[in-house]
Symmetry: C3
Subunit: 205 residues, 3 copies
C-alpha cells in the first residue's frame, strides 16, 4: 500500500516534469511510467529479481496512468500546488528508499549494499526522467540533500533493525528521517559543499 | 527473417543519425548496433531472457555492420532517399513491435504488459540512440504517432490472437497497422495533443 | 588486483569529470561509482552474471570512495597532473577491456561477442558518466582511438589464446596493445575518419 502511494507520487512528479517539455500524451504517460517504476526496476535488475512487479501485475500500470491523467486534468484548471508537491515528492523518496533497503536486506545483501540499493531505488526513476528529457539529473546538481537523505534514512533503518527494535519502528523511523531531511534541506536551503576544479582538467582526447 | 530486416533497417537509421553528429567510424558502428539491438536487449533484460540473441549468434552483428557500412558507402555518392527511409523506419518499428508482443506473449505476460513490451521493443533502440547523441528522444517530442502506433498495432495483434484468427493473420495485421498509422501520421502531420504547463512548475531543489 | 587498480583509476576519472560540473560531495561519489563500476555492471547484466561483484563484496565500494576522496583532497592544493592521468586512464581502459574479454570467454561466448563485451566493459562506465552529466559520450565524438583500441587489444588477446600462447602472455600483450594504441593516438593525435552527412538527413517526424 505504501509502495503504491510512492508510485503514484512519482507518477505525478514525472507528469509535471513532462509538462515543462511540451510532450504529447503518450510521451507524458511513458515519462510518468519511467519515473515511477525506474527506481524499482533498476534495483531489481541489479539484484536479478524476476519477474518485475509491474510486468507481473498490471495494477501498478493502472495506478500510474490514473495518476498521470488526473494530474493533467487538474493542472488544466488550477496551478499545481507547489508546496504540497514537494512534500509528496519527499514522501515518495522516503517510501522508495526504505522499501529498497528492505528488499535488499531480504535478498541477503550486506549493509553497505543495502544503503546503496536504497539510494538507487529512491533516485533512479528521477535520474531516468531527467536523462530522457535531456536535463542534468537533479542528483548531480548541487541541490538540497537528496541521495544523502536517502542514505541517512536507510542507514538509520538498518541500525534500528540490527539493534532489534520492534517492527515496524525501524521502517517508520527510516521513512521519517528521509522525508524530514529532504524537506528541512529544501526549507532552509541546506546543501552539501560543492566540489569544483578551477579550470578544464584532464581526460584529454 | 522479418526480424533481420527490422534490424537492418534500424542499423541504417542509426548510421544516418550518426552522420549528423560527426562521429568516427567506430562510433557510427556502435551507434548502429545500439539502435538496432537496443529495443530487443532492453526487452530481454526486463523479461530475464538469456542468452541475448546477438551475443549467442554473431549473424546479427554481421548484418548490422554490413548495413552500416553499405549506408556509409551509399551516402558518399548519393543523397539518402528521404521518403524510402521513412517507409523503412516505419516498417522497422512495425516488425519490432509485433515481434516484441509475440515474445512477451510466449513469456506468459498479461496483455497490458505485452503491449508495453511491444512498445519498448519498438522504441528503446531509438531512445538509446538519441540519449547517446545528447538529443531529446523522438518518443518524447511532440511528433507523428510513434509509441502510439506501436501500441495500437500490438493491441490489434493481441485482439486477433484472442479472437482465434488463423495465423499468421494477427501478426500481419498488427504489422500493417503500426506501419500504416506511423506513415499516415507523418504524411498528414497527425500528432497527439501536447501537454504543457504554463510556467515552471514545482519540483523545487 | 589488476581489476582493483582499474577501478581506482576510473573512480579518479569520474571524480575529475565531476569537478567540471559543480556537483556536491554525494554527487561526486555517485559519479565516481558509476564510472568505475558501470562497465562491469553492464557486461554482467548482458551476460546474466549474478550477484554483481560490488553488491556481493563491499571492498570495491571502499576502494572507489577512497579514490574519490583522495582525488578531491589532492586537487585542493595541487593541479591534477594531466599527463599521468591520461596514462592511468589508458591503463584503466586496457585492464577493463582485457578482463571483460576473459570473463566473456569463460562464459562461453564466441570471439566476436568477446571483443564486443571487452569494449562494453572498457567504455560503458565512461558513457554512463557522460550521459549523466549531459555530455555527448567520448566514445561518440571524433577522438583518439578509444573503442578501437579496446577492440584491437581484445582481438590480440583472443588470437594469442587461440594460438596457445602460454599464460599470462595473451593477457599482458592485450593490455599493452590497448594502452599503447590509446596513448599513441592521444600523443600523435591519431583518429579514425569522421563520417558526416552534408545536411539534415531523413528520420522525419
Amino acid at each position: 500500500m505504501l509502495e503504491l502511494i510512492g508510485i503514484s507520487v512519482f507518477a505525478v512528479s514525472g507528469t509535471l516534469a513532462a509538462g515543462r517539455k511540451r510532450l504529447d500524451l503518450i510521451g507524458v504517460l511513458v515519462l510518468a511510467l519511467v519515473t515511477a517504476m525506474g527506481g524499482g526496476t533498476v534495483r531489481d535488475l541489479l539484484l536479478d529479481r524476476h519477474p518485475l512487479i509491474w510486468l507481473a501485475d498490471p495494477t501498478y500500470l493502472f495506478v500510474i496512468v490514473a495518476s498521470a491523467l488526473l494530474t493533467m486534468a487538474y493542472v488544466r484548471w488550477r496551478r499545481p500546488p507547489e508546496k504540497s508537491l514537494l512534500v509528496a515528492d519527499a514522501l515518495g523518496l522516503a517510501l522508495f528508499s526504505i522499501t529498497g533497503a528492505q528488499i535488499a536486506q531480504r535478498a541477503g545483501m550486506n549493509p553497505v549494499s543495502c544503503v546503496l540499493l536504497a539510494t538507487v531505488t529512491g533516485s533512479a526513476g528521477g535520474i531516468l526522467r531527467d536523462v530522457l528529457t535531456a536535463e542534468i539529473p537533479l542528483l548531480f546538481r548541487p541541490s538540497a540533500l537528496y541521495a544523502s537523505a536517502a542514505m541517512a534514512g536507510a542507514s538509520m533503518y538498518l541500525l534500528l533493525e540490527w539493534l532489534g527494535a520492534p517492527r515496524p519502528a525501524p521502517m517508520l523511523v527510516g521513512i521519517v528521517v528521509v522525508a524530514a531531511l529532504r524537506l528541512a534541506a529544501i526549507w532552509w536551503r541546506i546543501s552539501l559543499p560543492v566540489f569544483q576544479l578551477e579550470r578544464d582538467g584532464p581526460t584529454g582526447n
